[in-house]
């Protein structure tokens, strides 16, 4: 399916696009990018996977990103049936206690990837079966991949 057809399809699922924070963009990226509000994330993701026309069954990359003001997660999706690709982004302005819903029930690969994001960005995923640090020790203070993280001993800055 082309990006345009994908966009038309997905727009139909959300009659009130503004309330769902749904925006599309193809600028500065090779994929179609979708922004969605955290409240509508699971609804969108479930439909992306279960809908026969989209059928995004392969979550090939899940990355945490610190955009400065906001923290968030970028999901790279591909359909093994139609071979089209899509990027979904979700952002939260809460840096103190960021929380998003888990997509573990949709793609099992999210279990490890979300733990990695929790470890390095401190985003808690509600509904995750095992939400604890993956690489770092439990006593570790702070979240190293955040832009405001400081560690005078372990980080060499130029």
């Amino acid at each position: 399916m082309t990006n345009e057809a994908l966009q038309n399809n997905i727009t139909k699922w959300f009659p009130d696009a503004e309330a769902a924070g749904l925006t599309f963009s193809e600028e500065e990226s090779q994929f179609l990018n979708i922004d969605i509000s955290p409240n509508n994330l699971i609804e969108l993701m479930s439909k992306l996977k279960s809908n026969e026309d989209t059928s995004f069954d392969y979550l090939f990359c899940l990355s945490g990103v610190d955009w400065g003001e906001e923290l968030g997660v970028v999901y790279h999706l591909e359909s093994t049936l139609h071979r089209h690709q899509l990027v979904v982004k979700v952002r939260t302005p809460d840096r103190e206690n960021p929380t998003l819903d888990t997509v573990y029930s949709i793609w099992k690969t999210a279990e490890f990837h979300e733990r990695e994001v929790f470890d390095f960005f401190g985003i808690t995923f509600t509904g995750h079966p095992n939400m604890k640090r993956l690489f770092l020790t439990d006593e570790w203070q702070g979240y190293p991949l955040r832009k405001d993280y400081e560690d005078e001993i372990n980080m060499i800055l130029k």
């Binding site: 500065e28 090779q30 090939f60 990359c61 970028v74 690969t109 390095f120 690489f135």
Partner: protein
Amino acid sequence: METTTVQSNFKSEEYFINMGPQHPATHGVLRLVLTIDGEIIKKVDPDLGYIHRSIEKMCERDSYQQIVHLTDRMDYLSSNINNEAVCLAVENALQLEVPDRVKVIRTIIGELTRISSHCLWWGVMGMDVGALTTYFYGFRDRELINDIMEETCGARLTMNYNVPGGLMFDIHPNFVSRVKKFVAHFKTKIPEYDRLLTNNVIFQKRTKGVGVLSKEDAISFGASGPVGRASGYSCDVRKYHPYSALDRVTFNEALQTEGDTFARYKVRIQEFWESLSIIEQLIDNIPEGEHRVPTNAVIKLPKGEYYQKVETARGELGVYIISTGTKNPYRLKFRSPGFSNLSLLNHIAVGGKIGDLVATMATLDLVIPDIDR
């Protein structure tokens, strides 16, 4: 009262043991916390981070040329392919067209790397299930590729041969003849591998029906490379998103449907043949030309997001770059194949025995620095 005491003495009990971080079967510093009931595995909980260096954080302070060097240290057995992934991402972002010669050489070197990695895997796979001879045979043939690499770029493991814009040096004058000699040699060795291990009855009994992964689960867990293809999941990046010179060669995707340990083994043996075929198609037709196009000394990627995926010996490696237009990436994420492949270990090992876990681990072909990054 008496009877309850006796019964509780014989109650089966779950307890946990540590496998690793120095266990030989984990091939590196990976610790598996096994919950077991007798010999039956109830749960596998990987404990990671023993060699985590936070390469992604380092990338945020390094230039793009420097980042290429860090990627060697992830999956060190696919170092050339990792280098290529970052170079392709940077070249695509700069819209830089590399010469045909570079594309062909990159593909040949990539396939040699794959054979070399699979040779090592084949050796240790046999060793893990008790066939020690394979280790020496695998390393004997891998050595020939290492020699070619050493002559080409001076290094045997962490090559750093790719740079954004092409290759660091041109190939050595001996390269073509040595590769041809290797291909002819290795073609006589794969049947030997089959006679020694593939057709061995004990080996087959250790691996058939063990660690079965269904196609649906393979996709859901994000399996890629030989692990996915052994479950009948067609996921070869070289087929679906061809890069470098892979769009001008014909090869079959190695596919099996059983999804067990033996199927994963067979996929890799089949990949030996496919890689040899790709090399044979290209080695006589390396185009003349430059081995590198000049780039700025300071590479600044235009503002935007770039994603490049390649097929390493272990599966799909993704490089996701977010650039704000400066000389460093704002965020760089490596989607490593081993990380996703490890996440399905618990799923396929539960219900089996500890000995089966060792065989299963061997065919997942984990490289721990690739997982820990």
